[in-house]
Amino acid sequence: MKPYLLQHFLENSAGKNPDKIAIQNGPDSITYSMLHRRATRLGETLRLLAQPPGERVGIFLDKSIEQVVALLGTLYADKIFVLLNAALHQKQVKHIVSDCGITTLITSNALMASVLAPILDDLRLRNLVCHEDFQNLAGIGADGDVRSENITDDVSNIIYTSGSTGVPKGVVITHRNLIDTAKNSTEHLKVSENERILCAIALNFDYGLNQLTSTLYKGCTLVLYKYLLPNAFLATIEEERITGLPALPPIWASVFNPKLARIDKDRYDFSSLRYIANTGAKLPTPLVRKVRETFPNAELYLMYGFTEAFRSTFLDPAEVDRRPESIGKALPNVQVEIINESNDICKPGEIGELIHRGAGIARGYWNSPDLTARVYRSNPLLPEGCQFVDTVVYSGDLAKKDEDGFIYYVGRKDHQIKSSGYRVSPTEVETLIIECSGVSEVVAFGLDNPELGQKIRAMVSLSEDTSVNEILNHCREQAPYYLVPKEIFIVSGFPRTASGKIDRQLTIAQSTNQYGL
């Protein structure tokens, strides 16, 4: 039967290659056997500390070995892990802890001091554990076999991501999802136990977490990496003999910015690199060409997906030079269709909404049955009366197919912004800005941008005297960098619809006319 829980991957790999390095983070590393030992001991401790099973355990840590131990330990306690990006500020941490009902939080002394200390009362936690105390705590639990009561359809984790409106929502993931998507990814990327994967993506992203699950499944090595600047990144690929490189478009935009890095021919030895996978947003064609020129021996996989269904499509590397604009075709064990308003499959060239069925479909949104019902629906392509037997996910993305069945991303159906690889809801940015004193009304939206995918612009009207800098200061204090607008313009008022609401479309059109794109 095994593997049917994510931790079974770890047990299999620890059994086969106990002394192999599982995770490396700068100068630190941990073998499979030690990772198994530390995770099971923490699991036993969490089992005693926090009741009942199914409790959500928040993990507010930088990408690190401790973060990996914490999430696996949570699973060993039959609990659900919720990773909070270490870039989050107090406001976002409070939202996730409250929305998800987190009662146990694992963090570090540093994040405790810089972020959590002033809001601890509001968080109403039952248990707060700093990873520095893992060693002491682990003595509480037994050291040995851990018997899990969970089954494969139990919830393993919840991933917070933004939609088109409001605050971030938790996407509910099961062990089956994690197992299916690890098998799926490693199959089409042909990942072997010899891989050394550079994980520059945060683990609270689905694709970042997938690097860990794929690594545990194949028994290869994951090199954790915090991306800051291209020179160090390129040197790391060479020095660490990286073979697999998943990355987001903003990384490539900065790598190929001539102000930030010089990539002369023969300067680096990238011969170890076997594949590169792009995800997070469409990689602009000029960047596709540069990646191909710079890493001619690496296969480039252009992926498309969204957290609610993990990944949906990829472009066969053999097609990249011919169709760099395409997001390819459905992954193995996945079906993707583009349907029109009448729920019929679109003809080639006709634009419609992309829907996904098959492996990777999450359970829905935590605490949001209405939203879940809008996104996770009965399969409209089955005969009436039978549609309920199959669930498909409506992506909210507009796409079209060509005559050969290759799919092309066209845009969003709604106003969701994709910036720096993060999904951002305009409402979240607007709520942030409206809380700044002196601001009367605001409209936030995304504009296409080669570095960020989209940049956030906000048009703001004022009730009292304040400045763009005051508003920016407020945003930076209250929110992580990816929610902070790149541009803010003050306007005297907004165009209105007949009902008196702000006319968003006209506001955006006026803004781009006056201030450009």
Partner: protein, 84 residues
């Protein structure tokens, strides 16, 4: 023209919108997630225009740009090594 702690702080306040009251000369700017690499391109252009010399991409390393004091030290070291 030379770069000073005040001029860098003024740039971070006026152009980037950072609350400089909360920033000491040694506050980490990039490793602390205060700024992203998108902001770095503009910061480089600013340092270049203030010092009148282009920055070699090989010098774009986190140890040269992660705080106001590091930026000043880096700018000074370049002036020291420039041909006279």
């Amino acid at each position: 023209m030379s770069l000073t702690s005040d001029s860098v702080s003024k740039y971070l306040k006026d152009e980037v919108g950072l609350d400089i009251r909360a920033i000491t000369p040694d506050t980490a700017l990039f490793t602390s997630n205060l700024l992203d690499s998108f902001s770095l391109v503009d910061l480089i252009l600013f340092v270049e225009s203030e010092t009148g010399a282009p920055i070699d991409p090989d010098d774009v390393r986190i140890e040269n740009f992660d705080s106001v004091s590091r930026i000043i030290r880096f700018a000074e070291s370049r002036q020291g090594s420039a041909p006279t």
